[in-house]
């Protein structure tokens, strides 16, 4: 963390020095270098059971871009944070502290090269597919960091991977993109005892259970992932087709019996595996001024789910899964912008014994409504996001008020309220309602 702060100070000093330099005296190499970043302080207070601080996080981002020419540039970005909450409270176990207290990560290291209609991006990066905001239906390339559920910005949720991303403009408004990565990193899930630990499948074993470590190699040429996307814009219809071959980024717990020393009964071993998925999907967007229509669909072929059925041999069943959403953005009165979105997860088969947060049956539906507006020339910006699960009426409501203090500084107060049965997506965090305060300084 000290190293990061030192780096930030050096960058600030360099930025100020560059600004002080008369335009004519700035050397060419410095003109080609752009440095920017931000510092943020995020505070969250858990409202009940028990009421306590749940986040006192200091974060820093630093990004540099060096432009060699119109056709080539190099971009490097880092992020570091330290969460003082682990010193302020002893509510979280050591494994959570080790996992979430501090981090210094390379977020981007991308060499971009263009030649004619071909653009190539090589390095550690986020590759984002999809049209809708706040969902992951076709946003399938990067693994996600769910240690704070899905509450952070999505660029913070995505875990960058080392990849080759090539885009080829076949014709005007027709682009073919190909992605390949040997970086088969998994989703980052919260440890047991963490603030946003997920509910797990409720097994009913009589025998002792041992959970094996998820030690599958996360960098493998043999298990590399890749896919293609074809994007077309015609008559205002923005359509893309995708195919991606990947390992399931969330582990699936396969069961097997392990012999024990008699007379002790055999053990049940829960073996986390990452089965192969073939994701086929499409996205569309179209503006019918002033309304914007969006849609996404993804079919995950080979998707597997854990079952609590004791008669199932390996405790896992295959259910190819269709995820889709359809949404509209439209203006309301008084300069309020609204976004309404319906999404569904459909399992191709019976969902008995598969129930867990996020899967409420063969069909799991949710509706999201986001309202945003601005006052005083958009220096005071209230917004609210409301998402409700239609099967069990679990919901999340996140009101937020952002104050633009200056061109560089913003402050935001907000809340994340969860309600519902604890076996539902939002209800599992029913006791984790929180209020938040975030201050950000950009340079």
């Amino acid at each position: 963390m000290r190293a990061l702060l030192a780096l930030l100070l050096v960058a600030c000093a360099a930025g100020v020095a560059a600004a002080d330099e008369p335009e004519g005296n700035t050397p060419d190499w410095l003109k080609a270098l752009r440095v920017r970043g931000r510092l943020a302080e995020e505070f969250a207070y858990r409202l009940h059971d028990p009421g306590d601080e749940s986040k006192i996080k200091s974060l820093g981002w630093l990004e540099g871009k060096y432009t060699f020419s119109e056709a080539a540039n190099l971009r490097v970005a880092t992020r570091g944070y330290y969460d003082t909450v682990f010193e302020a409270t002893d509510r979280y176990p050591d494994n959570v502290r080790r996992n979430q207290e501090k981090e210094l990560e390379l977020r981007e290291a991308i060499l971009s090269v263009s030649h004619g209609d071909l653009d190539v991006r090589l390095g550690r990066q986020q590759i984002v597919w999809g049209e809708a905001i706040s969902t992951f239906v076709t946003d399938v390339v990067n693994p996600k960091d769910f240690r704070e559920f899905i509450l952070p910005d999505f660029t913070e949720l995505r875990v960058p991977i080392w990849a080759l991303d090539a885009q080829w403009r076949l014709a005007r408004n027709v682009t073919l993109e190909a992605v390949w990565t040997p970086d088969t990193m998994h989703n980052r899930l919260p440890k047991k005892g963490a603030e946003f630990q997920f509910q797990t499948v409720e097994y009913r074993f009589r025998n002792p259970v041992v959970r094996l470590p998820d030690d599958e190699d996360e960098f493998s040429l043999g298990r590399s992932e890749g896919g293609v996307r074809l994007s077309v814009l015609r008559e205002g219809w923005d359509v893309s087709l995708i195919y991606y071959d990947q390992a399931d980024k969330t582990p699936v717990l396969f069961q097997r019996q392990v012999a024990n020393t008699p007379p002790r009964p055999y053990q049940i071993a829960l073996d986390p595996q990452h089965p192969r998925l073939h994701v086929v999907g499409a996205t569309l967007a179209k503006s019918f001024e002033p309304v914007v229509l969006r849609g996404e669909i993804a079919v995950s072929v080979g998707k597997r789910y854990e079952t609590s059925n004791p008669l199932d041999a390996d405790g896992v069943v295959r259910r190819d899964t269709i995820d889709y959403l359809i949404g509209v953005d439209f203006p309301l009165l008084w300069d309020v912008d609204a976004a309404l979105q319906l999404s569904q997860k459909i399992l191709t088969g019976d969902a008995t014994n598969l129930t867990k947060p996020g899967v409420q049956g063969q069909v799991t539906s949710s509706v999201a409504l986001r309202l945003t507006t601005g006052f005083f020339d958009n220096t005071l910006n209230p917004s609210v996001l409301f998402v409700i699960g239609l099967e069990r009426a679990d919901f999340r409501m996140s009101p937020r008020l952002e104050w633009v203090v200056s061109g560089s500084v913003t402050m935001a107060v907000g809340a994340d309220i969860f309600e519902g049965d604890r076996r539902t997506l939002y209800g599992q965090f029913d006791k984790n309602d929180r209020v938040t305060l975030t201050t950000t300084w950009r340079f």
Partner: protein, 252 residues
């Protein structure tokens, strides 16, 4: 009496109808020519980069200043990069004809948005991303008026499709030199949204005079205004990747 004059009047009416029918396209063509000529004061070349500063003010509050770098190529293709203040840096708008996307660093991907959505202050996305009135609107010549001492054509612009920033524009163009002078922008309901005044005509590019200032005032609250100052221009060929939504992230 009527029997005497009836036939000649009918003939006269028929002749007038033919003359008007022939003249109407000519008037429409002239109106379109006027708007096309006025558009040239808002775009200096086929491919160029323009720096724009927008100063927005509301009542007695201190003004806010936003900076943009606008890349334009051909008709209806532009990329608008947000360059100031720091909280907006990294954002960009891409307009391809009547389709518009915004790239937000927090989302990490381009997102489709409408042209009429507010950019900053009184400025809509389309005010910065499109400057092609002759392509977007059906034009009719209404008459002549004097604005600030200048004799002007008054034109009625009706949107060709719903996919443009304004449903209608009343447009004043000077008779001398066909410079844009003033505009009133209307919603489909007929509500006056804002008025615009074009000023600061300078030879920014050799041989090409441009309007370097557009002042937009709210249609109802006259104390809400935004001033668009068009600064330095570089006329150059811009690579195609600047107009590909899939490349917006890498252009940040």
């Amino acid at each position: 009496m009527f029997s005497v004059w009836g036939a000649p009047l009918r003939r006269l009416a028929a002749v007038a109808a033919v003359v008007l029918a022939c003249a109407a396209p000519a008037v429409a063509d002239e109106a379109a020519d006027i708007v096309r000529d006025a558009d040239r004061f808002r775009r200096p070349a086929e491919s160029f980069v323009w720096h724009i500063t927008i100063t927005s003010q509301e009542a007695r509050k201190s003004p806010s200043v936003d900076g943009f770098e606008v890349f334009v190529k051909g008709s209806g293709r532009s990329l608008v990069k947000f360059v100031a203040p720091p909280r907006n840096v990294g954002r960009s708008l891409l307009a391809l004809g009547r389709d518009l996307w915004i790239y937000l660093p927090d989302a990490g991907k381009p997102v489709r948005i409408p042209f009429s959505q507010r950019l900053v202050g009184q400025v809509a996305n389309g005010d910065v991303a499109r400057a092609d009135y002759s392509g977007d609107y059906e034009v009719k010549l209404l008459g002549e008026e004097t604005v600030d001492g200048a004799a002007c054509h008054v034109l009625d612009l009706k949107a060709k499709t719903k996919d443009v920033t304004y449903a209608a524009v009343k447009y004043w163009v000077s008779k001398d030199g066909r410079r844009p002078v003033r505009a009133e922008f209307y919603a489909a309901t007929g509500t006056l949204l804002k008025t615009g005044t074009f000023e600061g005509f300078k030879e920014v590019v050799p041989g090409h005079v441009l309007a370097t200032r557009l002042t937009l005032v709210d249609g109802i609250r006259k104390d809400k205004r935004s001033v668009l100052d068009y600064g330095s221009i570089v006329v150059r060929d811009i690579p195609e990747k600047y107009f590909d939504k899939n490349a917006m992230k890498s252009l940040d």
